[in-house]
Symmetry: C2
Subunit: 162 residues, 2 copies
């Protein structure tokens, strides 16, 4: 889904745009480099993996590179991205893939009050000195800000009933 | 791990506290109600599930309740929480469970530049009119702000090699 979205029939926008709220503030820790632009992003990570240009690179800012200590090639991680080009005020949406309206919290759409994307990926290369991490796939476009990296854990990240 | 953390030997703090940065702003969408206080939080979600008081309740603010449309009891979801009591400036940490120092991005510690927690849980009850969602487990303490809910997806949220 393209990150800049126009309103479709029946979609509902919030009376107050969450973009105007200031309940907490983020510090960007780096930037995502990918082969995608605003117009040709894949729909999701699965589709990105099927493409020959689905890989990405994370560039971590110098001050935060010590935070990479302990990460290694082959590890599964979460990347948290801030979809800064996405609308934040469409609370009830009409996604192309579903019948009828869905709430922003029942969708993985980038359009949501807080446009944080969580992406489960694998580290393909890592150079801590330069802060450059290769990842096996991303569906986000070049230049997307990065807000966090965490190790992926099977026991934690799979709900109890699976 | 308790949310307020004092510095241990050899731990490294950032020259500039990320809490002073203003790269993007969040809008809290609701609050978590749990049986945990600052002093007795379980270490993680697995430990919370083993406790008789590990369940939690999410209360979504009135303006955001339309966003719940499509969520149902039994669905697996992600809850994104903002650990507002956590230090954000310890980039190299000495966790009790590991030998030596680890970077914040190699840990699931609440202590990190952007203290966003992602929790994979199951909806046990949901009342969209009042915005109240019961979840099977949480390790966060009562009053923690909620920033997002997303459906959990097996294909997306399990890295490619699993």
């Amino acid at each position: 889904m393209p990150p800049v979205k126009t309103l479709r029939d029946l979609e509902v926008i919030l009376a107050h745009n969450p973009a105007k709220k200031d309940d907490a503030r983020l510090a960007f820790i780096g930037i995502l480099r990918s082969n995608w632009s605003l117009d040709d992003c894949p729909k999701n990570l699965t589709q990105a993996r099927e493409s020959t240009k689905g890989q990405g690179v994370i560039e971590i800012d110098p001050e935060y590179r010590a935070g990479l200590t302990g990460l290694k090639r082959g590890m599964k991680i979460w990347i948290l991205l801030w979809f800064d080009k996405a609308r934040r005020d469409i609370i009830l949406q009409a996604p192309g893939h579903a019948n009828g309206l869905r709430g922003a919290f029942a969708l993985r759409s980038p359009v949501r009050p807080n446009p944080i994307s969580i992406q489960a990926v694998e580290i393909t290369t890592i150079d801590k000195a330069s802060g450059v991490i290769g990842i096996d796939a991303t569906d986000a476009f070049d230049g997307t800000p990065v807000v966090d990296i965490k190790p992926w854990r099977h026991g934690l990240d799979t709900p109890s009933m699976e």
